[in-house]
Symmetry: D2
Subunit: 342 residues, 4 copies
């Protein structure tokens, strides 16, 4: 159950409710910013509505509460001029790793010319082997930020560890939580305390309810700007790197108010499948795409197999636009369309 | 390796090759209808081209040979006026189970009015529990056939056991092999000996290579009219009945010449997700859809949760048509489109 | 619910109950041999106990009924002098495929000398590729039977298809249903009609409830002599051929009265892991082992990687006996122990 | 390849090698404490043996190097008087969460009386829901440490986040990395810099090679005291919380020199299956067990379903001892055995 207090409610009102929950041995959390109590395993509305200072009571019987569709209809995350969610379509693209100034400026210029508003790039990279390239770290963040701002783009980059949140937040407009960190509850908790949008990737082995509870960790800290991102799940079949769980998109749209985008680069693992998977994602209703893009994929220091070249990305944009038009979806690619048709 | 002999080649030519394979201890199979040797673990073209009577040698290094894209560019399965494969889009729809004459005639008339050419219906049903409804069996086949022919539709129905092949073949235009029978090698072998198109559903935990080898079983018996059907795989997440492995479609198109359709009814398990999943399937390039449809889903004797009503199917057709037009795909729904726009 | 009628109950008693179930729209099955009604989705004992001729009413709320522990405490399957189940330990061993008379007689003599009472051997083999060796078929059955009877052993062999049941039953003392056929409901149904013990392997992707329902198919046909066999499940990790789900043994013992044995050869896929896995299986309470054994594994026509040599099998027996003694389990290896210590 | 330099080797020797690797564009890492180069994708021994100062060259063709059996035969981790690895058997037990002083002292006294040398207890708990009890945090660590030292036990507790490493290391004798943190590469890296033994739990959907690479992260930082812990993997079957991948034990023993213990509490999720699973683990060769134990499981604040009571743990010890004796394994339970037999 979610209990939202009036803005004009008093501390006495709050304490009365808190006392009731304590006396009834109920786990609860109070979120100061929104004057909201969350009481996950409690449904009895009539016992609560007698209290003073209450604006709204929302009984919810799922383990997640703030992430539930019953709490909100639709979340639209605004980042500068980019809107993510509702009926907008948002493109985020860039290299797996920031490698050097030239590479990241090339990408930024290219994206700018296409009318795209968000650049992604890895500075701290999660790598399965300790001997793989782990990114340029702080230097990478700085280069990414410099290139992005030169071309008026939002910076999207991953935070790899709780100890890096402040550093990453200083350079990023949107912070990404990687698949392997979706279960990193301590970090999720800390991300609830900052005021930056979070792209929360699904753990490659996470059930939907676990994913929404990961979002709940962040939201229950006070940060409600979450963008979910499906990036493929692990299966028994080695013929694909991952399985794109495409149907999770309508499922999430039914269960939650949060926007959901798709990362077809990780979901497929191979560049030639990125465009088909993108079209499927758009057709089924995804709110955006997160695409790996590299000026010269064959020379990429990480994940080159799944990165699109500029030419391939161009083709992706054309086909994407076709499906978006067919389903009448607004898009920040409108600008791009115009430029394309010159 | 596939070795195709000239039509004019002699028995002596054939025996010389067979002898070579035997002496070299190579597993091989000779298919009489096409005068073709298949020798799966052999690649040495130069050792073969010295033999007489050879039209073509195709070295293939995958375990499947006849199912490989190297053997053929594209298979188009023609069934009466319906074409499956290449750039056609084919709709197959109907109830999980044939329940009675009234039900199946209602469905047949509805499909006919929509311009759809293929009706599916279950007569022998694979059910997890021995106490569940197992279909009307032979009576079901007869009712389905009667309704289909009354409205000039192709009959699509499942064969549950080797011992039923003759019976089913007598009534069906296209025979379906269910997910649980994809590994039923003995039955696949027998299906290679008949001259009917086969829809081969993917086992719900089958690797792609196993699926193509199942197709190979049928093809190596001489029946090359195979339509693959993705119907969802089993995963760790109970929030979906199955995971629609959408990316298997471009993967199959790269590996094989066989057409591939999608069954979004089983892949999602819930009626409200069937339409979104269908749109994704079309956008990514599926050659058709296999949809469960029932006049009154709430009263269906089996799988009612995933069956569309006539109204829901209408909406599916509209949205389907939108995506098909966007991607310029020919469709046997053109007729339907015309009727719709009246 | 299971309703068992008195032996002395009349047809009138039976018809009264059948009518009640029909009028209440309840799925049910009547088993003639045991005068038993099975009514899976019905629990109301008080509505039934008013009927005449009833010996016992057992309310059971799982989808499986006859396979439930509530129906029986313990099933012991007796085959000639071998007992499977309860506190006995049973060894079944032999080659993946019967290859020739010499091979199968060598194995039979070896097993006989070790005091083992059951020989397994494949005549019809389920193979993923149509080009692999598929067994000697009927000749294989005959050779296996001849060797077994020469050494007073029970014959254990797989039935691959419904159409082969009669042929296999003519030679086998125990019929095996392979992993890929666990979901072959039509065949399971037919196996319920014969009077031979069945080893029912778990589908490599089957949930426990599905496995018990497969047993229910056979039992509801009247054949209650089922031996479950865990043979490994498919997972995401290519480092093992299969995952031995060891904990399914105590789980099955809690849910069901049926004996459960383990096939460590398929569960591990590699000979060197067969003995450790066997010890784990015995320690956790398995009722027996099904082991692949070959005079010369390196020359086996199928599954040679996982077959034990005679020397390796000897070592397995010694270690097995150690654990069996530690846990005080009776064993048909007692004879063997004696012979070993000569 | 691993290249170990002589203790007497010079900086010049080191630099010559480093230069060679750089010029050949090879990823490598130099570990100062052991004067060791690790060069994972390089096998050419002859190109290296010409360099000066080399004690030993070990070509290894797996992605993990220091975790490989080729690097060492056997690692025995010594913690005060407890030895983990080789032919020792080690018991670690205690509550999921430290709840209060009384609870943890009861457990500590009980373990001490049984001759057990290691107590586990959670202070910072990873919980799927943000509304669940997350542990007593620093207070929990202090209580655990106090109780352990009062009874001369080693402290085993989990580190949840990089930022907590120093705090946890101040109280723990052995630091545990939970299943969800096995992929937390940044934290693993930091754990390589401290001098405490690490229990590294397998990610619940981690491949064996990923698990060994996680160990490699820690080892390549200079900390070689790793104890692997199998705790169950996620599968498609909801009838078990997890699948205990029992066969991973002989597999790890073949691939790696690291000791491996089993956590049957998480692997099964239900108290009544913990003892059978423990026996299987010992019989197959596990180096120890990690058991959840609570004075009153029904009142536990977390994971009560899988915790053993003192009586159940007593029974586990007896049965454990039976199997250990049968297989002639040394055990720190010898003390316990003596006490038991009083």
């Amino acid at each position: 159950m979610i209990v939202i207090l009036h803005k004009s409610s008093t501390d006495t009102d709050k304490h009365a409710l808190a006392l009731f929950f304590q006396e009834n041995n109920l786990a609860y959390k109070y979120i100061d910013a929104t004057k909201t109590f969350v009481v996950p395993k409690f449904q009895q509305e009539d016992k609560i509505k007698v209290f003073k200072g209450i604006e709204k009571i929302i009984p919810i019987d799922t383990p997640y509460q703030l992430a539930s569709k019953l709490y909100k209809t639709n979340t639209v995350v605004e980042v500068n001029s980019s809107k993510i969610g509702d009926n907008n379509f948002t493109m985020i693209a860039g290299p797996c790793s920031v490698e050097n100034e030239d590479q990241i400026f090339q990408v930024a210029e290219f994206l700018h010319n296409k009318g795209i508003k968000n650049i992604r790039g890895g500075a701290y990279k999660p790598r399965t082997s300790p001997y793989s390239f782990r990114g340029l770290e702080k230097t990478g963040l700085q280069l990414l930020h410099k290139a992005a701002k030169a071309y008026n783009l939002n910076v999207v980059t991953e935070v790899l560890d709780t100890s890096l949140i402040d550093e990453v937040a200083a350079y990023a407009d949107i912070i990404q939580v990687g698949s392997r960190n979706m279960h990193n509850f301590y970090m999720l908790n800390e991300l609830g305390k900052i005021n930056k949008p979070i792209i929360l990737k699904r753990g490659f082995q996470a059930k939907v309810v676990e994913w929404l509870l990961a979002a709940e960790y962040i939201m229950s800290g006070g940060n409600e700007k979450i963008i979910l991102c499906e990036r493929g799940i692990r299966s028994f079949d080695p013929s694909s790197r991952n399985i794109l769980d495409i149907n999770v998109i309508p499922l999430i749209k039914e269960l939650s108010h949060l926007p959901i985008i798709v990362d077809p680069s990780h979901a497929t693992g191979i560049a030639k499948y990125v465009t088909p998977a993108s079209l499927a994602a758009i057709a089924i209703g995804a709110d955006g795409l997160l695409i790996e893009l590299h000026p010269t994929p064959a020379k990429a220091l990480s994940d080159g197999d799944q990165a699109l070249s500029f030419e391939e990305f161009d083709e992706l944009l054309k086909q994407t636009q076709t499906i978006l038009s067919a389903i009448n979806k607004k898009s920040d690619l409108e600008t791009f369309t115009f430029k394309l048709s010159r």
